[in-house]
């Protein structure tokens, strides 16, 4: 029997308008869901602890000019005031100082019966700024073994620059850890040799790093009193990758950024901007589609105005006469949701192995599915409210 109500009210439904809406919203929604999915997949890389577009770590130093070389220029170390100023910036999360060794270091390794020794330097940064987390990263004065983290670049230089031309063996990261090494530390009237071990390679730190606890101990022991210096390099953890404010600040103060971190963070920033643009386009298309549907519903109800009114004169409640339209909108929107989720997740399944190739793990489809469901629910509610309002307006003839 209720078919009779439907039979009455389906008159004037414009299939072409509904299909037009469905297609437009399908496109808009697919773009939105795909953008959310893409954002989720890549933000792993943008904000993840351990990836190439990682949270922004910037290592800065002061520019070295000819005057510095001549010994006549200003100090290239950072004063406590300068460090405080950096800490105050809104983009700064933490600032770490590179502590230098204020004594001399001679490293020696025994390799293939040949003994090689070289002068060396040490630096230390607080542990939370390290991009790797090696075992044995600690120092015990009672049983002194010095753990060392080297820049990956140094190993590359050795393996492909030095070793190949000098008929020396190439070394893997794992093998290096087993090479026996000693460090001779001298200063403050002392001259001592301690065993050392390379425990890891960092791509973030462009230095030879030892634990902060070791360097504090060694500086205390080997550095002449009054020989302590301000740090000449700082490591900054920024809140957002590639914040252009950082580059501006550094330029204004005449500092320098070490390594290619700045380029990576520019890539991350660019990725965010592009994703946001795509998302905005999707939202605009969906909004336009939404207005098409609203217009279509408005026309439909306007054409069926008399029937709606007459049904309510018979005792039908506004809810009852609106129900067929709710169902229509619900069915169309549910269809659009399913199709757009399918389209977006199909696209995601195309790009995720490609992202996986460069080390970005998929974030899973749930954020995108939630976004789609929420948007469609909001659109449906807005549609339903509009229908309800128009139907109620037709309850009284005047």
């Amino acid at each position: 029997m209720s078919n009779n109500v439907w039979k009455l009210l389906r008159r004037n439904i414009s299939v072409s308008q509904i299909v037009g809406y469905a297609i437009a919203n399908l496109v808009g929604l697919s773009i939105i869901i795909a953008a959310v999915q893409f954002y989720g997949d890549t933000s792993e890389a943008i904000s993840g602890e351990d990836s190439f577009l990682s949270k922004d770590y910037v290592i800065i130093s002061k520019k070295v000019s000819a005057l510095n070389t001549m010994g006549a220029g200003g100090d290239t170390s950072f004063s406590p005031d300068e460090i405080k100023d950096i800490e105050r910036q809104s983009w700064t999360r933490r600032v770490g100082q590179f502590t230098g060794a204020d004594f001399s270091v001679m490293a020696a390794i025994e390799m293939g019966g040949r003994r090689m020794s070289t002068y060396l330097f040490f630096e230390a940064i607080p542990d939370q700024f390290l991009d790797i987390n090696p075992r044995d990263w600690s120092f015990d004065p009672a049983n002194p073994v010095i753990p060392v983290i080297m820049s990956k670049d140094y190993l590359t230089l050795y393996n492909f620059g030095f070793a190949t031309t000098r008929n020396m063996p190439q070394l893997s990261e794992g093998l290096i850890g087993t090479v026996p090494m000693t460090m001779t530390l001298s200063g403050n009237g002392l001259h001592e040799t301690l065993p050392a071990r390379i425990v890891g390679f960092s791509s973030r730190l462009n230095t030879i790093a030892v634990p902060q606890s070791f360097l504090d101990w060694a500086n205390e022991r080997y550095a002449a009193p009054g020989d302590r210096r301000n740090p000449s390099r700082l490591i900054i953890e920024a809140n957002t990758a590639g914040d252009p404010a950082i580059a501006k600040y550094i330029k204004r103060h005449g500092y320098e950024i070490a390594g290619d971190k700045a380029d990576n963070s520019k890539a991350a920033y660019f990725l965010r901007v592009v994703t946001t643009i795509v998302l905005t386009v999707g939202i605009i298309i969906s909004l336009l589609a939404f207005f098409i549907l609203m217009l279509s519903i408005y026309l439909l109800l306007q054409k069926n105005k008399q029937k709606l009114h007459d049904l309510m004169l018979l005792g039908y409640s506004p809810g009852q006469v609106a129900r067929p339209y709710y169902l229509l909108i619900g069915a169309v929107n549910a269809g659009v949701l399913v199709l757009s989720l399918t389209a977006a997740l199909t696209a995601a399944s195309w790009w995720s192995p490609r992202l996986a190739d460069i080390g970005m793990a998929s974030s899973g489809p749930w954020a995108a599915i939630c976004a789609g469901v929420v948007i469609v629910a909001l659109l449906t509610c807005a549609n339903a409210l509009a229908i309800r309002r128009i139907v109620h307006r037709n309850f009284y003839a005047s």
């Binding site: 009455l8 309510m312 004169l313 039908y316 009852q320 005047s398």
Partner: protein, 243 residues
């Protein structure tokens, strides 16, 4: 009178006490504002008067000329229009205070209306037009509906689209539809304007019987072709009111 709110989303019927009186207090259609001292308002026994219609009073025959506001009166009492001044009460409940949900309930259980223009849906058959009301109230079986159509000599048109029926046939379909519900008052706006005397008498008999069974009052309007309630065997008491 207690009027619990009905949930307008559901078909659920809530019990509401029967409406005993319809009271008009100083009512005037807005369209007559400013002509209170001219005809037709001046000669009316309804507009700007105090008038009480009682459920147990039998039948009211509202006699009017064209343009005196007879259909407006029906619309006001049925909650379809609100463009009047003064107040109308169901017992002690002001109509202006009724919610949409309460009006739905009243239209299903308490006040039945046959509009002058019938308001059948032309794309539905005669039977479907009646059933679309009956499914709300569940008042009659299909057999009963068909029997009434037979009695009104349009049984053979039950499955024809209402849009293809003559005005007189449509009028009888609309009468059957109006009776498909319980009611305290049955309002018939010119119910027999397109019927001959013989059909008029058949309609009168059916309506008188339905009203008697429902213990309800009939309010019928006419502009010269009244429902012949007085000419049937078991005639109800008839109160004539000049609009």
């Amino acid at each position: 009178m207690m009027m619990p709110t009905t949930n307008s989303r559901t078909n659920k019927t809530l019990t509401m006490k029967r409406i005993e009186t319809i009271k008009l207090d100083n009512v005037l259609p807005r369209v007559f504002a400013g002509s209170e001292h001219d005809s037709p308002v001046r000669d009316s026994q309804v507009w700007l008067h105090s008038l009480t219609l009682r459920r147990d009073a039998g039948a009211y025959l509202v006699e009017a000329e064209s343009g005196t506001g007879k259909s407006s009166l029906c619309s006001f009492v049925y909650g379809n229009r609100r463009d009047y001044t003064g107040r109308i009460f169901f017992d002690d409940r002001d109509l202006a205070s009724l919610s949409v949900g309460e009006w739905c309930e009243i239209r299903r259980r308490h006040i039945a209306l046959l509009p002058q223009e019938m308001r059948l849906f032309p794309e539905l058959t005669a039977l479907e037009n009646i059933q679309i009301k009956n499914r709300l109230t569940d008042a009659c079986s299909e057999a009963e509906i068909r029997r009434r159509l037979e009695a009104l000599e349009i049984g053979h048109k039950a499955d024809a689209p209402a849009g293809l029926l003559s005005i007189g046939q449509q009028q009888r379909v609309a009468i059957v539809r109006a009776l498909c519900q319980p009611f305290d008052f049955l309002i018939l706006d010119e119910p027999v304007s397109h019927l001959d005397r013989r059909n008029n008498l058949i309609v009168a008999a059916i309506i008188a019987q339905a009203a008697r069974e429902a213990q309800a009052a009939v309010i019928t309007t006419s502009v010269g072709n009244p429902l012949l309630l007085s000419d049937i065997d078991t005639a109800p008491a008839i109160n004539t009111i000049k609009l």
